[in-house]
């Protein structure tokens, strides 16, 4: 079914774009959380973790209100592009980035905390600037964290439903992602199609997770 193929592609695109965007967004945030001892840290940690506990419909609702062409943010976008942020792919990307933020920040935070400060001090004495330390000492040690964050973010975005339902709708080629397509098939009592999508999605998720942890996870382990 070509419509469903489109839904698959759209889902992969959405999850991929979200994951790629979250790498540079979450890294400085996670690094600050790992290194800072400012009083505001717990506040930031709580805000970042909100999408973990909030019902997706709450997030979807507020995004609907904020990204509406009548609102400030949505209005700006409308004036520049002539399109609405709600019920569009771009709007979904924004929603997914917020929705999956903790799934990238938390693994990175943990991994950055595990980088020993003494080692960074030693690198500095060897002539490594903070940027050099980041690129050549921290990042290589954080590979596992990035892998975990990337996999979790991707998988989490693929499973997004409540948020999409609220402010994404069911627009083929724009917002009709896999979860919505499955829902639609069930609604129209097309169980056969629902099965093939749902089962396919389950197998894909399982396979990719297994492959990642079997091969890449091993490669990134510290050499013993």
């Amino acid at each position: 079914m070509p419509d469903d193929m489109q839904a698959v592609w759209l889902t992969v695109l959405l999850a991929g774009v979200t994951t790629l965007l979250l790498f540079p967004i979450a890294s400085p945030l996670a690094w600050w959380l790992a290194r800072s001892d400012s009083k505001g840290r717990s506040l930031v940690e709580a805000v970042v973790a909100m999408p973990l506990v909030l019902p997706p419909t709450v997030l979807g609702f507020y995004l609907l209100v904020m990204l509406n062409p009548e609102s400030f943010v949505g209005g700006l976008w409308f004036n520049v592009t002539g399109e609405s942020l709600t019920f569009s792919f771009s709007g979904l990307v924004i929603a997914s980035v917020i929705y999956s933020l903790p799934f990238m920040v938390q693994p990175l935070h943990a991994t950055f905390r595990a980088v020993p400060v003494p080692v960074l001090e030693a690198a500095a004495t060897l002539g490594a600037s903070p940027r050099d330390q980041w690129l050549n000492v921290v990042l290589p040690l954080a590979k596992r964290g990035y892998l975990t964050g990337g996999v979790l973010t991707f998988a989490h975005t693929v499973g997004e439903f409540g948020v999409v339902l609220m402010m994404g709708g069911n627009i083929p080629g724009e917002t009709r992602v896999l979860s919505i397509a499955i829902y639609e098939h069930v609604e129209t009592l097309n169980y056969q199609a629902a099965h093939s999508l749902a089962l396919g999605l389950m197998c894909f998720s399982f396979l990719s997770l297994w492959l990642v942890y079997r091969y890449a996870g091993h490669r990134f382990e510290v050499v013993r």
């Binding site: 080692v119 001090e121 030693a122 500095a124 060897l126 490594a128 600037s129 050099d132 040690l141 510290v222």
Partner: protein
């Protein structure tokens, strides 16, 4: 001005406050001694720019490195080479990789200490491809030392760099260091508990006690035979028990291995031995005067 190190300021720590007013000519290698917790490592860290709470100034060769509470020159631009006491090798990498980290960031200067010379002198050639996480404590320290030297530093800071190595390696490395540093001319500071090492490598020594400078002067003078320095490791010598006297609970020892860096011993000098010995047995004897009055 050349190789002049100036440190003025203070830093509060839990157990003491480090209060410094130093102007040291590093044309001659400097040793730092003191009891554990006296502030030796902290002093090195201040020179390296790793103590953000230090209030004062640090200058080297006329360059102001720190002024008040601001680093005018950050750590990575000070041209340092530091061998930390806990080695601090980059984890998850090989020895070679760690050494290359230094060479890649070293200034392009001519040095007769090329890579392989250094590696062989420090007995690391068979470890180059080993992951650092599998090395012993002593091996890690030697890698850290090689790494600091390969950074071609303007100022070399060595914090008890051989404490985990056995006697054989220690002697070898000290001998090499002595050669290189005298001819190379790199100013360096050497922190140690071992008086013997300091006597061999340094010309001047700074003694710290609870954050305060207790003495600063020539090594020969301060480490004179029998001079008690707080926190010095008593030197240890191999000896054989020649005779024992149960009544006075004394034993006569004949020292078999007394090297040039040791103290002058008079034959028949009495020593108190803290465990039971029998005639003919060999042991390592540590010598410490009972009190200040017992010098000489």
């Amino acid at each position: 001005m050349r190789n002049q190190l100036i440190i003025r300021g203070c830093l509060e720590r839990a157990r003491f406050t480090l209060d410094l007013d130093l102007s040291i000519d590093l044309n001659e290698p400097l040793g730092i001694m003191g009891a554990t917790g006296a502030g030796k490592t902290t002093l090195l860290r201040i020179i390296a720019g790793l103590e953000p709470d230090f209030t004062g100034s640090v200058a080297f060769c006329g360059d102001v490195w720190r002024d008040g509470m601001i680093d005018r020159v950050p750590t990575h631009q000070r041209g340092l080479g530091v061998a930390f006491q806990d080695s601090r090798l980059l984890p998850g990498r090989t020895v070679e990789n760690n050494l290359n980290f230094a060479t890649q960031r070293a200034p392009a200067v001519d040095s007769r200490l090329d890579y392989m010379t250094l590696v062989e002198a420090l007995d690391l050639q068979h470890l180059l491809c080993e992951p650092v996480d599998s090395l012993s404590g002593g091996e890690r320290q030697r890698v850290a030392l090689a790494r600091a030297l390969l950074a071609r530093p303007r100022l070399l800071l060595l914090d008890e760099p051989l404490s985990a190595n056995d006697g054989v390696h220690r002697q070898q490395v000290i001998a090499h260091l002595g050669d290189w540093m005298s001819a190379g001319g790199t100013p360096f500071i050497y922190v140690s508990h071992a008086a013997a090492e300091l006597a061999q490598l340094t010309r001047q020594v700074l003694i710290l006690d609870q954050g305060a400078v207790r003495a600063l002067g020539k090594t020969d003078t301060l480490l004179d035979a029998g001079n008690v320095v707080p926190g010095t490791e008593p030197s240890s010598f191999a000896a054989v028990v020649v005779a024992t006297d149960n009544d006075s609970r004394t034993a006569t020892l004949e020292f078999t291995d007394v090297d040039d860096a040791g103290i002058a011993l008079n034959r028949g000098e009495r020593v108190v031995v803290c465990r039971d010995v029998s005639e003919g047995s060999g042991l390592d004897a540590s010598l410490q005067p009972e009190s200040d009055e017992d010098q000489r």
